[in-house]
Structures are given as structure tokens and as C-alpha cells.
Amino acid sequence: MITKRIIPCLDVKNGRVVKGVNFQGLSDVSSPVELAKYYSDNGADELVFYDITASAEGRALFTDILTQVASTIFIPLTVGGGINTVEDFDRVLKCGADKVSVNSGAIKNPSLISAAAEKYGSQCVVLSVDAKRVDGHYCVFAKGGRENTGMDAIQWIKKGIELGAGEIVLNSIDTDGVKKGFDLEMLRAVCDISPVPVIASGGAGSADDFIKLFKTIPEVDAGLAASIFHFGEVKIPQLKEKLKENNINVR
């Protein structure tokens, strides 16, 4: 039986992990390579790296870092941030990424999804969606959650899958940062229409939130979080033990 995946997400700026990290035993807590190795050794099933740099120098540093990470750890790596063209896919895949996540770039130009899926396969294309309730609808937000596109999130996800997205990351802006649990209602709505894997993001505050996620919506394939892992509030080995105790299949 396939296992539920636990995925830490790292934001990288100018080659360093931002959003401070609080680990004992790491000599350099902002080193993407050290952190990636730490997570890989401690039960992470996959890692997501977001490049939040805007400059060309920052981009070059990011691909250097990615190359180092991919030569050091051997679990699936997803890369996102600033992916606007098929050439961007090419750039990060050559450095060892396995999947590439698109967000604003696909909103601007949906054919990016089909072009990339055709060239690299659907399994390589992750559609990341930031969604928020507006007047009783789930609306898609672009540019890191700052801009309401007015698009309906469920319709956009359907379209993305038709275009060839092989996996969906649903980040609920409503629950993100609140640490009171994933947005089960929004995830339910997405799982009802998605034939491809769905990764839940936004809102995890404790191990119990992951248990509730996988118990309430068995179709969810993975849970993604950043700060609760980085700050050691939830440790992945203990989280997995708890999930096992609750009969949720994990690695």
C-alpha cells in the first residue's frame, strides 16, 4: 500500500535558507545542503525548494545549491519559484530536480503546463495553487498570494490537470500561518475533482493536524509544511510514529 508523504519545504534566497531554522547539531542552519541532508536522514519523503530570489545572480546561486543538494541526498526533489518558461524547467531539471512546480507562471501562460508535460512528462509538472475564500468562492491568488486573479480555484485545477499537471499542491491562504490545521474543506473540494495526487499545504501546527488530514481526507497523498519542521515544533520521525499508531501508512 502506498505511503502518505511528509514534505518539508525550504525557501531559498541568495543561496541560503530563509525563515530561520532552529536545529541543534547543524553547524550551518541556513545551508540548504546541510538542511536537506538533515531532513533526508530524518524521514522526509521528498523535499521542496522554493527559489525566492529575484536577481540573476540569485538564480545562478540557486542552481549551484540545487546541484549540491542533488549530489548529496537521494530522495525526490521538487523545485519552484520563478518558473515561467520551458527553459526554466530545463535549467532546474539539469541540476537534479525531479519535479518542477509552477504557480504564477502558469496563471500568466497556462500553455506552460502542456508544453512542459509534453517535453518532460506529467509526473514532472506540479501545479501549485494559492487559494483563498472570497465571497464564498475559492479564488486563485498569484504573486505569492498578493494578487486575486478572480479565477475559481476548482476550475483552474481542473484545467491544469487537463493541460497535463501530474500533481497538485493546494496551499490555503486562509489557514496558512495560522497553525490550527489544514484547510480540510478546501482540500475536500479539490480531492473530489482531482484524479492526480494532491499535496496539502498551509496550516499545520502539530502532529495531530496531519493525523486529522489523512483520516478526514484519505485521498490526500501528502502533507507539506515549513516552519513547524524548521523550528522543530514537529519532528518528522515522531510525526511518523504517531501516524503509524493511527493506522496511517507511512515510510
Binding site: 502506498i2 519523503d45 537521494f74 539539469k94 537534479g96 500533481e167 501528502a222 515510510r251
Partner: protein, 211 residues
């Protein structure tokens, strides 16, 4: 030296890195002479079967792989590279494979229950077939000598090898038992990605390299 066959499909960076990480001497090559000199050959692959099969046939690389395998050189196919070892695949039409292991590659659609998503993506448990008496480590396929039943490996696929039960060395359960690994003498195949399967995957590669 381990030679990874470079025939223009997929990204070989991770595979090469993982082999280096376990201390193997590795080269990526599309050169027949290098493949002939190598101690072992790895046939990788991602994408569609027909496209990969036709690319492998360019420059007659398939003939080199077949003749090296028939001479007893250890060969490991990974993911689509594993599927290419079989007689044929029904992915988008019927296409001929290398015919090194009897069997055919078929779609999961209609085989796994409807509620199972296709492709099968993620970490799943290895199950060793009973007939191989996995209680005795010596009976396991040698590439699994340091891996235990239940260990997880990383899969990404929509098609799987069928009609090859006598060569199956590991399965995985996805609503149905699917072929996870095969062996016929010196020819090995893994449907999963050992280069993305953490320590279990590295140990499988290491066992292959030290055959």
C-alpha cells in the same frame, strides 16, 4: 566501471550522483566500445516506451546492450529502462522491447481498482514473493541482500510488467500486486527509482555494483 547508457532520454544526473555516492566508478556513455569495456551496464529511462525504444535503436545501441547481456555482463534496467528489457509494451500501441526477459508491459488502467490514482507516484513497500523463501536471505535476489521486506522505495509509473511471474523478485501492492523488480540470470530490472529511494535505494545499487 559502471556504464550508464546515454541514449537521449531523461536526466542522468541523480543516477550518476547516487553511484558516485556509494563509491562506484561511473561513466555516462552512448559509445558501444565503452559499454563493451564496462563491468556492468545500467539502462535508465523516463518518458514513453516507443520513443525510448526508437532512440535506443539509433546507432544500434540496443544491439550492444543485448549482446553484452547475453554474454553474461550484469545489466540493470531502471523504470522505463526495466520495461524495455521485456518482449513488448502496449503503451500507445504495441511496441517491441529488447526481448531479454519474457513478459509484456501493460497499463494499470483497468487492472488496479478505480479509486487508485494513475500514475502510481510515491513510496511503496517491497514485497518478496513467497516462492523465493525470503526468510532465507540467500534466496533473495542479490540486489536485495541488504534490503528487508516492507522497506519502501520510490515509484513513478503508469505501466507495469506482466506475464513474467517466474522472474519477479519483488512486488508492491497498489490495489493489486504490481511487479517491482525482476531478475533473469545476470539481467536485473527495477520499476522503482533506486537513485531516489534513500538509503534502501543506495543499498540496492551498491549490491548491484558489487555483483
Amino acid at each position: 566501471m559502471i556504464a550508464i547508457v546515454d541514449y537521449g532520454v531523461g536526466n542522468l544526473f541523480s543516477l550518476q550522483s547516487s553511484l558516485k555516492a556509494i563509491g562506484a566508478e561511473v561513466t555516462i556513455t552512448g559509445d558501444a566500445a565503452v559499454l563493451e569495456k564496462a563491468d556492468k551496464i545500467i539502462l535508465p529511462g523516463v518518458g514513453a516506451f516507443a520513443d525510448a525504444a526508437s532512440k535506443l535503436k539509433q546507432n544500434d545501441l540496443h544491439k550492444v546492450v543485448i549482446s553484452q547481456a547475453r554474454q553474461g555482463k550484469p545489466l540493470m534496467g531502471i523504470c522505463l529502462g526495466m520495461q524495455l528489457l521485456f518482449d513488448e509494451s502496449e503503451e500507445y500501441g504495441l511496441h517491441k522491447g529488447l526481448g531479454l526477459i519474457p513478459g509484456r508491459v501493460i497499463s494499470m488502467k483497468g487492472i488496479v481498482p478505480d479509486e487508485y490514482k494513475i500514475p502510481h507516484i510515491g513510496w511503496n513497500h517491497l514485497i518478496f514473493p513467497q516462492k523465493r523463501g525470503h526468510e532465507n536471505p540467500a534466496d533473495k535476489s542479490p540486489i536485495f541482500s541488504n534490503v528487508n521486506e516492507g522497506d519502501c522505495v520510490y515509484f513513478v509509473h503508469s505501466f507495469f510488467a506482466s506475464d513474467c511471474s517466474q522472474y519477479v523478485t519483488a512486488c508492491t501492492e497498489y490495489g493489486k500486486l504490481l511487479t517491482a523488480a525482476v531478475q533473469k540470470d545476470n539481467i536485473f530490472g527495477c520499476q522503482f527509482h533506486p537513485e531516489k529511494s534513500g538509503s534502501a535505494g543506495l543499498s540496492i545499487l551498491k549490491s548491484f555494483c558489487s555483483l
